[in-house]
Amino acid sequence: MTKLEAKIPQGPLAEKWTNYKDHQKLVNPANKRRLDIIVVGTGLAGASAAASLGELGFNVLNFCIQDSPRRAHSIAAQGGINAAKNYQNDGDSVYRLFYDTIKGGDYRAREANVYRLAEVSNSIIDQCVAQGVPFAREYGGLLDNRSFGGAQVSRTFYAKGQTGQQLLLGAYSALSRQVHKGSVKLYTRYEMLDLVIIDGRARGIIARNLVTGKVERFSAHAVVIGSGGYGNTFFLSTNAMNSNGSAAMQCYRKGALFANPAFAQIHPTCIPVHGEFQSKLTLMSESLRNDGRIWVPKKIEDAQAIREGKLKPTQIAEEDRDYYLERRYPAFGNLVPRDVASRAAKERCDAGFGVNNTGLAVYLDFSSAIARLGLKTVEARYGNLFQMYEKITAQNPYETPMMIFPAIHYTMGGLWVDYELQTTIQGCFAIGEANFSDHGANRLGASALMQGLADGYFVLPYTIQNYLADQISVPRFSVDLPEFAEAEKAVENRIATLMSIKGKRSVDSLHKELGHIMWDYVGMARTKESLETALTKLKALKKEFWSNVFIPGEPNNLNVELEKALRVADFIEIGELMALDGLNRNESCGGHFREEYQTPEGEALRDDEHYAYASCWQYEGDNKTPELVKEPLVYEFTVRAQRNYKS
């Protein structure tokens, strides 16, 4: 049985990262040139890592599936990025950011990792400003901040409602500079299809050129996976259409452990589903909860009348509105963490108070903010988000409340990594959303950007050297080695099998079916029965997929349906992992809510005695149940408590 060694450095919490850096092994400049690193993905984590490693002098090969690195889905993050600068003098500190993150994650993350994240957060802001990221500023010329869920301080830096875009363009600029210098070579419109292992170490990848359809081989001394999360398992999510979990699954099938797959985040403020043909869900930034107030009608007959179109929200008197977050959580109000806000919305809708013709929506209302701050201020803060909302729904949020509903947004689970961000496969690292490390069972708003850039700019460029220091005498690998030929053959076979099925179902129809199973049985509220049902249904779906999918066109050419089919095959297996993990975890924590385990007030009920561990799954072969490996989460510095956002 695999024993997991997290390699957490010795010493007091605040000194661990310094201790690590003081004693780690480094690679000298002359040797760096001789070492190749493959980075898969060009989002915040991938681009910042590729750029920083290139600057250090390593030879970097950077892959992305889009036509340009600038289009990775980090670009769509709206609200902001957290850092413990305490520029607002409101009592923030590295410790407080660490504590809020650990608590927000419902005490299911590693203390040492989270502390390091909080520690490097300030350097990220400095770095971005130096790159020319146009963060919002006060009239005095200094940086402005706003508040996000799960915190009582204002520590979120932002660039209008396009923070992810600006941070990614900063990292993309740094990356472009290295491409110009020749230290990074870009492979755009390439998709990784397998990890190549030689003598137990990751030594390359097999990737498909999405334009020509050619399957190609690439070798390196180390492979870094920065390919994002697996939220699209649900078909409908806020992820981009091409976001997928396949790179992680390829590593998993080659021996990397997959940790906490059940921990998926459901974001409370998304534009509700409008029909069967819908392709994705659009997020409305959490920053809106700074000034927007969430409510449903207090009287069930009002909700009924609204659903039937007989009543408008603006006709509901103030005293007939139930601002349920403010009612249930007076201390944090509308700014409770995402998991709490999502469940509260579901609770009200399940009780029959939901609005929209479907009954699956709640209001996010700006009328009191407009009365208090004036239309101009509200427009300056949220104008682009309001415009986005209006373009999609044809409703004006300045005049009528927005309608919102929870949707899948982010996955906290991912490839298991140690303190050095290395997976259980030597030389294979995972960064950003692709790993499981820092957010526990629930991620706080504005912390994804922080973690992606922390990993890429300030953590991996150090820790990967501790590994590569042993590799300086290892010559470059030829892609003619039998391990490459074998991996390529396996990929070709998988593609040939898919193409030869020639069934009756389109890839999308199967993906949608998967999404329904996931949302209905592995969604916001799960039970033992629902998860068992999901496993049965997923098994049947897998069979249906592998016997009845239809892919037109040729494999050795541009073929979008084939790309989608390869991803959906993996999504089905991720779905199984999620259900299996959810079934194992007989407790509720963060984004994982098991209806059997709740407090009398309906809050998540953790079981620290039995489940204070990261659940890591080891691949045992096709159609075999994976083995559960536990990494105990030892809390030395914080006391686990029931999360309290009420007082």
């Binding site: 600057e55 500023r137 740094a174 472009s176 259409m241 392709s279």
Partner: protein, 251 residues
Amino acid sequence: MEKIINITVKVWRQKGPKAKGGFESHKLNGISGDTSFLEMLDILNEQIVSEGKEPIAFDNDCREGICGMCSLYVNGHPHGPDNLITTCQLHMRHFKDGETITVEPWRSAAFPVIRDLMVDRQAFDKIIQAGGYTSVNTGGVPDANAIPISKIDADEAMDSASCIGCGACVATCKNGSAMLFVSAKVSQLALLPQGKIEAKARAKAMVAKMDELGFGNCTNTRACEMECPKGVSISNIARLNRQFLTAKFSD
């Protein structure tokens, strides 16, 4: 009172960069007004796949107007007939029942067609690689608040930085000029003290690369500004010209 329409989609099909392309017409019934334009193409593709044929290839990713991947010429306008949106933010409620909708790829010498509606925009990356950055390495930079920046400059830099690199400006320009794209990046960085240091060299390098890649000249028709999904202003072009001329004079 949901709007439901029946339409004809006249769409450009082209097997590869060198292949001869042509229009193909498809009838599509029962499309709801709340459907986005790309969802309409998804529905059409499902219909095409169900007939055993290859679906229409088109670039798309975030579907919320920020990645810049979608790139369709709809009824003669890049990103279609509405203002300040990308193709993915266009909804079918803007079309009439019985309408024929013409869909084409970006057409520009610098953006060759890959397949159907998909074009190659690597030229934009190459322009950024030529100088669209500040030359700072990771680490060792000053505190973020060490240099105050006036809110006016920061806001203006943000407006320039909102470019999504979709290429609508090039596609709509009769000269195929990339001046709006280049000037937006040059302006963003020139407005900020961090970027000002290399402003002249950057302007020269990026303009030289743009010329080398076969983009046309700017003749101030303002078509780019009209069609830009993010409302990037041509005042950026004026700023680029100033930067470029000062750089040339100081040579």
